[in-house]
Amino acid sequence: MRPHAAAPAPGGDSSPLLNKVIAGIGRIVLGKDEVIRLAVTCLVARGHLLIEDLPGVGKTTLAHVLARAFGLRFQRIQFTSDMLPADILGVSVYDHDGGAFKFHPGPVFSQVVLADEVNRATPKAQSALLEAMEENQVTIEGETHALPQPFFVIATQNPAHQIGTFPLPESQLDRFLMRLRMGYPDRAAERELLLGADRRELLQRLPATVAAEELASIQSRVTTVHASAALVDYLQAILTHSRESPLCQYGLSPRAGLALLRCAQASALLDGRGHALPEDVQAVLPSVVGHRLQPAEGQSAHAAAELVAQLAAVPIP
C-alpha cells in the first residue's frame, strides 16, 4: 500500500495524471508495474535511464511507450562497434545552394533517445552520447546546438560479460540517474503477452496522456517537494553507511546523494505528496545506487548487491 496523501504537492497534484500514464504503459508492457513506475520517476526527476538486461525482454518497447505516453519525439540509435560520434550527433555538410556548411542533426536531437546496446559501441561513440546527456547540447565544429527539451536518454546495455562489448566505465555509469533491470515477466503477464495483440499495434493506438509542456511543469515541481531535516538525516545515514562499508571500493558520492534525494522527491510527487518519506528513498534506492557501487578488491561480484540490501536496512533515525 502506498501512503495516502497527507498534503498535496505544491502547484497542484499531478499524481492522478502520472498514474494514468503508468497504467496506460502497464497495459502494453505487461507485469512490469514497478519498473514502469521507476522509469517515470526517473523521467520526472530529469534523469537518464540505463536499462540493463538481455535482449528481448521489452526494453525497446518500454522506451517507445514512455515517449509516446508523454507525447515526446522518439529516436532510436542502435549502437554498433563501428559507430562514429557523427552517427549520433549529426554532421555539417557543405550546401551548394546556400554556399555554406549546413548542420544535419543526428538522431540524438530528439526528446526521447533510445540508445540500444550502448555497450557495443566503442568508448569514443559512447562518450559522444554521454557528453550530450550531460550538457544538454551538442557542439560540432565550434557551433553549439541545443538539444530539444525535455531530453531523456534510455540506454540499454547487455550484461557486460557478453563477448565484444565495451562496458561503460564507472564514471559514465554515474551519469545515469537510475539503472533498472527488466527481468522476465511473470507467468500470467507472459501468457497475456503471448495471447494478446501485437505490442507495436497497441503502441500506435496509445494516446499521448501528458503534453510535453505539462511534463516540463511536473519536472520543475520535483525540487519543491519538501525534504525535511529528518529525511535528510536518513539519507545521510545511508551515505555514511556506504562510505564506511568494507564491501565496496568507494562509498556513494555527493552526486549519488543528490540523485537519491531527487528521485525520492519525484517518487513523492508521483504519490501526490508534498513531502518525501523514507519509503520514497527506499523505493528508489536500489535503482539509484546499484550502478554506482563497485565491489572492493577481494570482495565477490555480489558485494554491491549485498551493500544495497544493507543500505535498504539502515535504521530510520
Binding site: 501512503p3 497527507a6 519538501h226 525535511s228 529528518a230 518525501a276 518519506l277 535498504a312 530510520i316
Partner: protein, 659 residues
C-alpha cells in the same frame, strides 16, 4: 628523553612567555606589601631576563649560574627572616623560587610548573588577608592563570584571542562553583589557623595593661573590633553597653596590670555572681582576631561559649588566643550581684603604690568626711563633675606621679586617666576597687541591624566593691563627659577626627557616605559571619542540622554530593542530546513501543507509512487512531508542518492510544 616533537619538549613561543609573565606578575602583586623589597625586585629582574630571552634572544643562565642564584636566594631568605619556615619566610621563599623558575622555563612542562606555582602563591595571599576585595582579586588572578593554562594546552597552538580564553577560563571557574560550595560546607574544618602557623592576626586592640595614653591611641583607629547581632532586634540602651575585657588590679602609680605576675585571670569555679532578675541580653559577637584570649561580653556573661571559660574576674577568655575571626553567642545579665570578696582579693583590690601622695591624701580625707563607701564614691564623682576636668583625646604628658599630676595640675585626660585616678582614690579611701577595660557603646548599623564596635570605642572604667552590693560598675568618664557614654565616642571627638568629608557634614553627600560606609560594613559583617567564621564549631552545628553527626556520614555526604553534581552534569549533557531528538520522534517512539508490547515491532528501517499500514492491517478496528497518529507524525516530521500545536496533538493522540 622526550621525543623532540612531543609537546612537553616544544619550546615556548613569545605569547606563552608573555602570558606566564602576566599571570606571575598579577599573582605577586598582592604579596608586595608584606615581602621584603629585595624579593619582588629580584623576581622582576628574572622576569625581565626571561622576557628579553623570548623577545630578543637573550641567553638564559646555565646550570652553574642558576645553582648559585638559588643558593643565594635561600641564604638571603634565611638571613632576612632567620628561618626558611613559617608564613612570611615560606611565602618569600616561594616567591623567589618562582622567579628563579622563570629563568629555566624553556618548554611546555616548565611553563605548566610555573602556572601551578602561580596558583599556589595566589592562594598564599589568603594567609595575609581574607577580605572580600582580596577574594575578588584572587578569583580574577585564578581566571588569568587558568586562561594561560588553556593557551598552553591549545593542541595546535592556534592563537585564540586572549578574551576568548579568559571567557573559557571564567566559565570553567563558574562550573567549579557548585563543587567548591559543597566542599566548603562539608569538607572537615580543622581547628586553629591553617597549618597551625602563628599568624599576624592580633595587631591593635586592647592590651592586658593600661597606662596613660594607651587607650587614647586606640581612639584614632577606625578598625572594627567586633560586631554584635542582638537576638532581640533592639540593642540595649547605651549605658548598658559595657563590653567587658581584662580586669586590672595592680598598679605602680602609673601603669595598671592584671596582676603583679600573672596576666591571665584563672577560671572561676562557679559563676561568681547571681542575676537579680530574669532580664537577659542574648547576642552573637563576631570578634576580629586580636591575638589575646579574652572574648568581649556585656556585663556580666551568664553563659560561656564552647572553647572558652569565665574567669574569676568575670570576663570571658578563650582557651587559645583569638588569632582568627571568632563567632560566639553569649547571654548576659545586666542586673547582678557578685559573690563575697575573699581576703586575698580584698588585699589585691586595696593595693596602693607609694607614689601619688596627694591623691592618696585626698582619698583619705574623703574617707574621714563621708558616712559610708557609697558617699565616698559620690564625692569622687562630684569632684570630677565640679572641678574643671576636661575629656580630651590629646591629654598633656604626665611626668612623675601620674595621678597627682592629672588630678591637681593638668586635669585633662581620656578614659584611662579618669578610671586610673578614680580607682586609686577609692583604694586610698579604703574601698576595694579595680579597673576594667573593654569597649563601650558601638555604632548601630541599621542596614544589617547589628552593632559595630570599633577600636576607638575602647574604654576603661572602674568597679568598686560595696558592702551588700558586691562589685559595682562606676564610670568616672561619664561624670566628666556624659555624652561619651550616651551618644558614643563620635560626639566628643573633635570634628577633625570624624572623617574625610567633614566639610559636607549634614549634607546629602555626607548621608550618602554614611550609607555606603554602613552598607560596606554590612557586607563585611555577613562575609565574616557566613564565610570566615565558618570554623569547626559552626560546621559541626550546620552538619548536625543537616543530620550528619559523624565524619563517616559526612564523607558519605561529600561523595554523594559530588556524585549528584556529576549526575546533574550528565543529565544536562544527555538532555541536550535528548532535546536534539525531535519531540515528534519521541512521541512516535512511544507509539511504536505501545504497538511492540502487543507484538507488532517496527523494523529499524521500516518507514512510518509502511509501518502504519501494517499496524492498520493488524488492528482494523483501530485503523482511524493509527492513521491519525501516522498522519500527524508524518506531517510534523517529514512535512513542512512543524508546530508546537501539532506536537501537542500528537502527544495526546499517542497518550490516548490503546492498541
Amino acid at each position: 628523553m622526550k621525543h623532540p616533537l612531543s609537546p612537553d619538549a616544544l619550546p615556548l613561543d613569545r605569547r606563552a612567555v608573555d602570558l606566564l609573565m602576566l599571570s606571575t606578575g598579577l599573582t605577586l602583586l598582592p604579596h608586595l606589601p608584606h615581602l621584603p623589597l629585595f624579593i619582588p625586585l629580584f623576581c622582576a629582574v628574572f622576569a625581565l631576563w626571561r622576557w628579553m630571552a623570548a623577545h630578543y634572544a637573550w641567553a638564559l643562565p646555565g646550570t652553574p649560574a642558576r645553582t648559585a642564584l638559588t643558593l643565594t636566594a635561600l641564604g638571603g631568605i634565611a638571613l632576612v627572616f632567620g628561618t626558611v619556615f613559617g608564613r612570611d619566610a615560606g611565602t618569600g621563599l616561594l616567591t623567589l623560587m618562582l622567579g628563579l623558575k622563570l629563568l629555566e622555563t624553556r618548554n611546555y612542562r616548565d611553563a605548566v610548573v610555573v602556572l601551578f606555582l602561580d596558583y599556589f602563591l595566589g592562594i598564599a595571599v589568603v594567609l595575609y588577608s581574607q577580605s572580600i576585595p582580596t577574594l575578588v582579586y584572587l578569583v580574577l588572578v585564578l581566571v588569568v592563570i587558568t586562561a594561560a593554562l588553556i593557551e598552553l594546552n591549545q593542541p595546535a597552538r592556534g592563537h585564540a584571542p586572549l578574551r576568548a580564553m579568559l571567557r573559557r577560563a571564567g566559565v570553567l571557574m563558574l562550573q567549579a562553583v557548585p563543587l567548591a560550595l559543597l566542599l566548603f560546607v562539608l569538607f572537615p574544618r580543622i581547628p586553629g589557623p591553617l597549618w597551625g602557623l602563628p599568624q599576624g592576626g592580633g595587631t591593635g586592640g586592647l592590651d592586658d595593661s593600661m597606662s596613660p595614653g594607651s587607650i587614647t591611641h586606640l581612639s584614632r583607629s577606625d578598625a572594627v573590633a567586633f560586631r554584635v547581632d542582638f537576638d532581640g532586634a533592639v540593642p540595649p540602651p547605651a549605658h548598658l553597653l559595657y563590653w567587658r575585657g581584662p580586669v586590672l588590679w595592680h598598679t605602680d602609680g602609673r601603669n595598671w596590670t592584671a596582676d603583679r605576675d600573672r596576666t591571665v585571670s584563672p577560671p572561676a569555679a562557679g559563676p561568681g555572681f547571681t542575676p537579680l532578675d530574669a532580664a537577659t541580653l542574648e547576642y552573637t559577637v563576631t570578634l576580629e582576631p586580636h591575638g589575646r584570649n579574652w572574648l568581649y561580653a556585656l556585663d556580666l556573661p551568664l553563659s560561656v561559649p564552647p572553647g572558652a571559660h569565665r574567669t574569676r574576674d568575670l570576663f570571658l577568655a578563650a582557651d587559645k588566643p583569638v588569632r582568627q575571626l571568632t563567632r560566639y553567642t553569649v547571654a548576659s545579665s545586666p542586673h547582678y550581684r557578685t559573690a563575697a570578696l575573699g581576703a586575698a582579693e580584698r588585699a589585691r583590690a586595696l593595693q596602693l603604690p607609694a607614689a601619688n601622695p596627694a591623691a592618696r591624701a585626698l582619698g583619705a580625707q574623703w574617707r574621714a568626711q563621708a558616712a559610708d563607701d557609697a558617699a565616698v564614691v559620690e564625692r569622687a564623682l562630684d569632684y570630677f563633675r565640679e572641678e574643671p576636668f576636661h575629656y580630651t583625646l590629646e591629654p598633656p604628658p604626665l611626668p612623675g606621679d601620674a595621678v597627682d599630676e592629672f588630678l591637681f595640675r593638668t586635669r585633662r585626660g581620656f578614659c584611662e586617666h579618669y578610671s586610673a585616678a578614680f580607682t586609686l582614690l577609692m583604694r586610698a579611701a579604703g574601698i576595694p576597687a579595680r579597673v576594667v577595660t573593654g569597649y563601650q557603646g558601638g555604632e548601630l548599623n541599621p542596614l544589617g541591624d547589628y552593632l559595630i564596635v570599633r577600636q576607638r570605642d575602647a574604654h576603661a572604667w572602674s568597679e568598686v566593691w560595696l558592702e551588700g552590693r558586691g562589685w559595682v560598675r562606676v564610670d568616672p568618664t561619664s561624670a566628666v563627659a556624659p555624652q561619651r557614654i550616651e551618644q558614643g565616642i563620635d560626639s566628643v571627638l573633635p570634628t577633625a577626627q570624624r572623617g574625610l568629608l567633614r566639610d559636607f557634614e549634614g549634607g546629602a553627600l555626607d548621608a550618602l557616605w554614611q550609607h555606603s560606609r554602613l552598607a560596606w560594613d554590612t557586607l563585611n559583617a555577613r562575609w565574616n559571619q557566613w564565610v570566615l567564621a565558618y570554623g569547626p564549631e559552626n560546621q559541626a552545628a550546620v552538619l548536625a542540622r543537616l543530620g550528619l553527626r559523624s565524619w563517616a556520614t559526612t564523607a558519605l555526604a561529600v561523595l554523594a554530593g559530588i556524585a549528584l553534581l556529576l549526575a546533574a552534569l550528565g543529565v544536562v549533557l544527555l538532555s541536550r542530546r535528548w532535546n536534539r531528538i525531535d519531540p515528534a520522534l519521541r512521541h512516535y517512539q512511544r507509539f511504536c513501543a505501545k504497538l511492540a508490547r502487543r507484538g507488532l515491532v517496527r523494523a529499524p528501517a521500516e518507514g512510518p507509512a509502511a509501518f502504519g499500514a501494517r499496524a492498520q492491517g493488524q488492528w482494523p478496528e483501530r485503523r482511524a487512531a493509527i492513521a491519525s497518529i501516522n498522519e500527524l507524525y508524518i506531517a510534523i516530521r517529514y512535512g513542512s508542518h512543524y508546530s508546537a500545536d501539532r506536537i501537542k496533538q500528537l502527544r495526546r493522540a499517542v497518550a490516548a492510544f490503546r492498541p
